[in-house]
């Protein structure tokens, strides 16, 4: 359980995190969303004890991050942004060092290191010094150190940033694998929205250090103006004006020289049957007809732009 209560951090005059409050329950994979500079990393740094909050409080599994930071840190695994590791160490030596700092010794240590190595597939590079590894492998070493002690709370700051699509996929799979069926908490900060739909059970959007939205990815998508919109792909452009008369239709957007119509629905309305029916009546040559779930990136832009305005 993570409880964040009115957390605030200032850097000079700049308020990086502004009175932020929310909770994360066991079993949740929380996507922490926001544009660059929104305060995501700062919040994570406060939770993990690297920065001290200027006001407010937070607790990790019941341990206050001010007064019981060492106990809180024992419950957490943390991948800082960019996954910094001791470059002159070998992968195995580094992971053993982390295990020892985590209080693991002897066979226990070997077992934990072996499990983490297996989970992120580092078997081939154990003897290499970290400096010589590719970016993807370095990130995996960072992940391995974070999950090494099987923590209750896993905090990952931009875990897929700068990785290639295959590596991103691997990291996401790993996160899903870690979270599935356990009572653990995973918090991922990102500005990549597909990631949220892919792995998160809940999303929190912040900008300028303030909470803007909090819900499941589906709920966020439902806030999109494209939620329940119908996209029609046509052979030939048609007159789309009559569509506006259909019940529940809010508007029509035309793209690709009239070859693609996006019919927007009023909030809560389901217009797919009506639009389909109308297209059939008019004998439009329809290539494709589909319902949109909503566009997260549009919700995200609207939320964060409103905040900036």
């Amino acid at each position: 359980m993570i409880k964040i209560n009115s957390l605030t951090k200032r850097f000079g005059d700049h308020v990086a995190v502004d009175n932020l409050s929310f909770e994360v329950k066991p079993g949740e994979v929380l996507g922490f969303l926001g544009p660059n500079g929104a305060g995501k990393s700062t919040t994570m740094k406060m939770l993990t004890g690297f920065l001290t909050p200027d006001a407010g409080s937070a607790s990790i599994c019941g341990f206050d991050i001010r007064s019981q930071i060492l106990q809180a840190q024992r419950q957490m695994g943390y991948l800082p942004e960019g996954a910094p590791c001791y470059g002159d160490m070998r992968v195995k030596g580094f992971l053993e060092f982390i295990a020892e700092v985590r209080g693991l010794r002897g066979a226990d240590k070997q077992r934990h290191v072996a499990r983490a190595v297996e989970q992120v597939e580092l078997q081939g590079v154990l003897g290499q010094s970290i400096d010589t590894l590719s970016k993807g492998f370095k990130r995996r070493v960072g992940l391995a150190q974070a999950i090494l002690h099987d923590p209750q709370v896993l905090i990952l700051d931009e875990p897929t940033d700068g990785l290639d699509p295959n590596q991103k996929h691997q990291v996401r799979q790993l996160i899903q694998q870690l979270a599935s069926g356990s009572n653990k908490i995973v918090v991922i900060s990102t500005h990549i929205l597909e990631e949220v739909s892919a792995v998160c059970s809940r999303a929190v959007v912040i900008a300028h250090g303030r909470l803007l939205a909090d819900g499941t990815p589906d709920e966020l998508e439902a806030r999109s103006k494209y939620h329940q919109a119908v996209t029609v792909l046509l052979q030939q452009p048609v007159d789309s004006q009559p569509l506006l008369a259909l019940p529940g239709v809010l508007g029509v957007e035309t793209e690709r020289d009239g070859h693609q119509l996006t019919v927007l629905a009023e909030p809560g309305a389901v217009i797919f049957p009506a639009v389909g029916e109308y297209a059939r009546q008019q004998q439009w040559q329809v290539k494709e007809l589909s319902v949109e779930r909503g566009r997260l990136d549009e919700v995200f832009r609207r939320l964060t732009a409103e905040e900036a305005a």
Partner: protein, 244 residues
């Protein structure tokens, strides 16, 4: 305190993971030999003691020890590993002490490797080996003082060169604080007790006594409290500046 050993082990290992350790040891051994035999006139003095050897240590350390200390924190800051280290369940004291002790033991290893000079002086005459041991202890304490200062300077910046220069200057101030160069600045106006206090901070005066084989408890306390104060300052600086 459980993590102190783990931090210590990693740090000491990291010296030997790069060429730094070997370069330092070789340069230290070569320079101490050059200083002892050429500048110190070890043979010409005709004395069976190691005073010419120890006499140059404050000056030798002035450049070599900050080179060891500069990476202690500046490197962590530069590479971002400070965030990793400080979010592990390790107390601030364990971090600061673990790193410092690793550097101190490393310099100690270099110092121990000068043992051929003990063999030499014992071969040539019959020196007071107790005094030589005290001299070595004093030299190691002196290095510890320099390292503690260097540790604090390294915590101030992410640039190792700046850390090095700041440490050299700070150590130099501590060397010369018993000299007229510094005391004259104060002698016109400052009360005598302040002059005495400043003069008593000098590395040279303290080290001089120990290197001749006179181990006064006050000198021992001086070096230990000097290290404690600078390490405390290191911890404070890290807390204040960790996120910069």
């Amino acid at each position: 305190m459980k993590s102190l050993g783990v931090i210590f082990k990693r740090e000491l290992g990291s010296y030997f993971a790069t060429p730094l350790a070997y370069i330092f040891i070789v340069i230290f051994l070569v320079l101490s030999a050059v200083f002892t035999f050429y500048l110190g006139g070890f043979y010409e003095g005709g004395q069976a003691d190691l005073i010419p050897f120890f006499n140059f240590h404050p000056w030798l350390y002035l450049f070599l020890v900050p080179a060891v200390a500069m990476r202690l924190w500046a490197e962590e800051r530069k590479s971002g590993t400070i965030e990793l280290l400080m979010t592990l369940p390790v107390s601030r004291a364990d971090m600061v002490l673990g790193k410092f002790l690793a550097a101190w033991v490393f310099v100690g290893i270099a110092l121990v490797l000068t043992f051929p000079i003990i063999i030499t002086v014992n071969y040539l005459g019959s020196p007071d080996n107790g005094a030589i041991f005290t001299g070595y202890l004093g030299s190691w304490l002196l290095a510890g003082g320099y390292l503690a200062i260097g540790s604090c300077m390294s915590a101030l910046t992410k640039n190792q060169v700046i850390a090095f220069i700041l440490s050299v200057v700070a150590c130099f101030v501590f060397i010369v604080s018993g000299f007229p160069l510094v005391l004259d600045l104060f002698s016109g106006w400052a009360p005598q007790w302040l002059l005495d206090a400043i003069a008593s901070l000098s590395f040279l005066i303290r080290f001089d006594a120990i290197s001749k084989g006179v181990l006064d408890l006050r000198d021992l306390l001086y070096f230990i409290s000097l290290m404690a104060v600078w390490l405390l300052a290191t911890a404070i600086v890290i807390d204040l500046k960790k996120a910069d």
